[in-house]
């Protein structure tokens, strides 16, 4: 009888775990929805607002100077890069549409929405965005919801700026 109970418990545990797996996913999805409603970083440039994670449309952002596409090793879909005068937009594919993954600054002619550009200093950055960043090597990352604003600082000067989106 005891062994029967043990076997029965194992069966219930296994199926229970399977069901737990399902419900865990549901919880994660709900969390994502909540995060989507949080504040986010976006780039306002040349009277345009470029929203990370939003669908990329050429008609909205204009014809790029150059375009490149990168395939992943095994999975379908292309990571696309649209290069404009002063920045690049990287996209990721989902359900046959392309969404904005990151915006990479190419020179100091472009500023973040809050007015920081390449060649500004560490002090300029912290004055504008504060000190609530995550530092890894020379990389300083500010996060709002699923969006990040990343600065590389070398010898006290900003040498790289990139907006990214956590897919």
């Amino acid at each position: 009888m005891k062994k029967k109970i043990v076997y029965f418990t194992i069966l219930i545990t296994l199926f229970g775990t399977i069901l737990t797996g399902c419900s865990d996913k549901e919880v994660k999805q709900n969390n994502n929805t909540e995060k989507n409603q949080e504040q986010v970083f976006s780039l306002t440039y040349d009277h345009m607002n470029i929203e990370l994670g939003s669908e990329f449309k050429v008609e909205k952002y204009g014809k790029e100077n150059s375009y490149s596409e990168i395939e992943s090793c095994a999975f379908e879909g292309l990571d696309k890069t649209y290069t404009y005068d002063h920045y690049e937009i990287y996209t990721y594919p989902e359900n046959e549409k392309d969404y904005i993954l990151s915006i990479y600054f190419l020179d100091e002619e472009i500023e973040t929405t809050e007015g920081i550009k390449i060649s500004d200093t560490y002090e300029d950055m912290t004055k504008t965005y504060g000190e609530d960043f995550k530092k890894e090597d020379n990389l300083y990352t500010y996060t709002k919801g699923k969006t990040n604003l990343k600065f590389i600082i070398e010898n006290d000067f900003i040498t790289s700026i990139e907006y990214t989106y956590d897919v």
Binding site: I10, I18, S66, I70
Partner: protein, 335 residues
Amino acid sequence: MKYIKVTVIFLIFIVILHFTTKLLSPKYMTDLVEGSFTREYYEEEKNHEVIFIGDCEVYANFSPMILYEEEGITSYVRGNSQQLIWQSYGLLKETLKYETPKIVVFNVNAMRYDKPVSEAYNRLMLDQMKWSKEKIEIIKASMLEEEDFLSYLFPILRYHSRFSTLTEEDFKYLFKKKKITHNGFLINKNVKPVKNLPTKKRLPNYEFKENTYEYLDKIVDLCKENNIKLILIKAPSLYPYWYEEYDKQIEEYAEKHNLDYYNFTSQIDQIGLDFQKDTYDGGLHLNLSGATKLSKYFSKILKENYSLTDYRENKEISQIYNQKLKEYYKAIKEE
């Protein structure tokens, strides 16, 4: 009597669970064929003098059939999509349970990744790997935060939702699989010339991280312990960028550990590669034409610098490889 009854019920449950898991797990036969690479090795004759380990840059770029045809070298590619360095180490350890090659060729591209990257790539590499201590170690090192070891132990936890999307492939290849690679090499005849590439981004730090060096040390030690010559390579590609700073570190490491290192990215002209014709994805990987050029080039390096056997003169092995060559050229014709 009761004991027997309960045992029978339990066994039936195990059989059902096993069958359901097999049915629901991806077969990797027509879609995402990269998922069958790890398994295919188990079905091979284990008589290789050269083993390649690494990511997609080995399975797409080095053809063991050409190495044999050109110089009589027997080799196998144990590579997977986005194979990380701890996965390469684990696969090498597993390989050494089956055979001891004279040479291990490791593609250093994975040195740039110090953290697990993607659950989907983990699955491609691990789903069809045989259970062993190495598999457990790889799973533990590869899991992302949101992953669960149990879902590797019981894949049904991961794949139960495939129930509603099962296709003909799931039934057709339930028990028997077809061959996808040729000694681990994946034929791709497509041509997609290089046009534009994204900007070479500035990085916050170009130094490889400590844990990638730790695994590289482990690979070096494992080869030493087994009296295997380790060769480091960087396969030729135009993207993702192989920074000069990366290259310098590998050169220094190779010198310190008395290893040979070939960076084929800087030998594109000597190999005769033309990235308008020899790539299937705009400069990331070589297509069949490019892989053939590179394999011929590398086979000469191997023959001239390392004492490898010309197995074309061995009756037994040459019989096996001549059959493999027939299948290889037939597959090329049909692709």
